[in-house]
């Protein structure tokens, strides 16, 4: 084997081992949820460890040749992953004007997902079921989100002139089933008296009552990171109380439960 070929093999083996080590590290890091649903972290860990081993074997296998495009692909992957994790925060809240909803919080923060959660919250004499936006939407057909039901949700405020005129704000989150690439925006319209009092991009908890309403036709709003958004065509949440709060758990929706206690 020629010297350049040997160098290419060593480089390729090193990159493959590095990619595996990166995956193993990522699966145990607080950044994992930014890219993939944590339910798959064991899969990433296992694959990462095996790839590290394979990289070392490739490195030591004198008869093996490398191909430049294979080396380029591994280099590109590691560079993109570094940019995704170390780059500027893509989900920083937008300026306090109209604009796209964001997906909640700052990706450079870590989030405590282990906080014990109560399935309900009681304010005054009303008990609200805590659930996430996707669970609220799924509950319309699943039977747990019915007219006049009381619910507590959290998400980022999204406003447009059309929503303001209709007396709504939108509360949005990203639902990540497998990975960020398949993320879907989930939006609930919240009926409020003064939309202008709510800062776009702020993270809020809404206590409200599910109320039938005509489908709202405005399609201009979007959720950062999602190509499409899902929202109810039949109900809005009539707000009883809205307050800015820190994100509870992680900003993305990672789970949809079909009975209480919901994932919130």
């Amino acid at each position: 084997m020629t010297a350049p070929a040997t160098l290419l093999r060593i480089l390729q083996g090193s990159l493959l081992a590095s990619s595996g080590a990166f995956m193993a590290w990522l699966s145990r890091s607080p950044f994992y949820w930014q890219l993939l649903n944590p339910r798959y972290s064991w899969l990433t860990l296992g694959a990462g460890l095996i790839l590290t081993l394979l990289g070392i074997i490739h490195l030591l296998h004198a008869g093996q040749k490398g191909r430049p495009t294979e080396t380029l692909a591994l280099t590109l992957f590691l560079a993109l992953a570094a940019l995704a994790i170390l780059g500027p925060d893509a989900f920083a809240p937008p300026p306090p004007t109209y604009g796209s909803g964001y997906s909640g919080g700052s990706l450079t923060r870590t989030f405590d997902d282990e906080t014990p959660q109560q399935p309900t919250v009681t304010v005054g004499d009303i008990t609200y079921t805590r659930l996430n936006l996707a669970e609220l939407l799924a509950g319309e057909t699943g039977g747990w989100a019915n007219e006049n039901g009381h619910f507590a949700i959290q998400g980022a405020v999204l406003r447009t002139p059309e929503l303001d005129r209709a007396g709504y704000i939108a509360v949005a989150r990203l639902y990540v089933y497998c990975c960020f690439a398949d993320a879907v925006g989930v939006v609930t319209l919240v009926a409020v008296n003064h939309p202008e009092n709510h800062r776009p991009g702020s993270w809020v908890r809404v206590l409200g009552t599910l109320t039938p309403d005509a489908p709202f036709q405005d399609r201009s709003f979007e959720v950062t990171g999602a190509l499409s958004t899902a929202r109810s065509q039949h109900f809005v949440l009539d707000a009883n109380k809205i307050e800015e709060t820190p994100v509870e758990g992680v900003p993305f929706i990672l789970e949809i439960r079909q009975k209480a206690p919901f994932a919130y």
Partner: protein, 314 residues
């Protein structure tokens, strides 16, 4: 800069999501290559044409895998002289005809059995058609002359194709299948196969992430007006986004303004043709076969979806 970071996040996520399955596919391929004799494999396959196609169509129920890892497995089956009319239908159908994907589709569409039935139909039609169209073709007729990146094993493997040579005990072909070295042979095969396939995954993932990040969402809305446009629009999007078949149902379900048949076409075609698979097809299969693998599912899914939509189904 925000878009660039979102693009990098989406591209990395696609690779990270698919890599374990590609690794699994590479490992299964290596295990088949090193441990399973050709005779044992062929004993599981019926002699008649319809039986061979049927085994391919439903093999995914026993060996669930998504499209991210299916090509290395199919390629290895072909190298073991499994008939193309079994291996090709398996490659096309298994990413959908498997219990994991069926369950995730049912969950995303809240238990609607008609959705999963139609999704299976849209996958089984082109997979069956491709299997039957291949007739008595041999593996060497569908694979490229040098189909792998296994380098030092290539000549030996290519030479084995026509003769059906098996790497059994005492084989001195030089591809590492010595009795005392099977584990190392499996690992080397897996590494070489993974490296060869991963470059298509990375480059495909980059293009798919670019579409996800930079495609204006309002373009989608323009397609929602008629069934013909809606089906075509979501099928094109499925190819461009290259979402894993285990997750695509959740994305499909979010296209609220699109007719159900367009969503089902999105889920069906994306599992058979996408930006990760197209370069893999072109690298592994002869050009005519690769083009058929790309064109047949697109034409069949569109035609059947449109006919069903115009006929009032969903």
């Amino acid at each position: 800069m925000q878009d660039l970071v979102i693009f990098a996040t989406a591209a990395s996520a696609i690779v990270l999501e698919a890599a374990p399955f590609l690794l699994l596919g590479s490992l299964i391929g290596a295990l088949i290559e090193v441990l399973v004799s050709e005779q044992a494999l062929l004993r599981c396959i019926p002699k008649n044409a319809l039986g061979q196609v049927a085994v391919g169509l439903f093999a995914g129920m026993l060996l669930p895998t998504c499209e991210c890892g299916i090509v290395p497995v199919a390629r290895r089956l072909l190298l073991k002289n499994v008939p193309p009319r079994t291996a090709i239908p398996y490659m096309m159908a298994a990413p959908v005809v498997n219990p994991v994907v069926i369950a995730s589709t049912l969950f995303a569409f809240q238990g609607d059995l008609s959705i999963i039935a139609l999704r299976l139909l849209l996958v089984l039609v082109p997979a069956t058609a491709l299997g039957l169209a291949l007739g008595d073709a041999r593996p060497a007729d569908v694979l490229r002359q040098r189909p792998t990146d296994l380098k030092k094993y290539d000549a030996a493997e290519a030479a084995h194709l026509p003769s059906g040579h098996d790497h059994g005990p005492g084989c001195a072909c030089g591809c590492g299948h010595h009795d005392h070295n099977k584990l190392l042979a499996i690992l080397r095969h897996t590494a070489a196969e993974f490296l060869s396939m991963a470059r298509f995954l990375v480059f495909g993932g980059v293009v798919a992430a670019a579409f996800k990040t930079f495609l204006p969402p309002e373009i989608l809305a323009a397609f929602a007006g008629s069934p013909a446009l809606a089906i075509a629009g979501l099928m094109l999007l499925a190819v461009l986004l290259s979402i894993c078949s285990e997750a695509d149902a959740f994305v499909a379900a979010s296209f609220g303004s699109f007719p159900a048949m367009a969503k089902i076409a999105f889920m069906a075609v994306g599992a058979m043709v996408d930006l990760k698979l197209i370069p893999l097809f072109l690298a592994v299969f002869r050009r005519r076969v690769a083009l058929a693998l790309i064109a047949a599912p697109i034409v069949a899914v569109y035609a059947v979806s449109l006919a069903l939509a115009l006929g009032g189904v969903r």
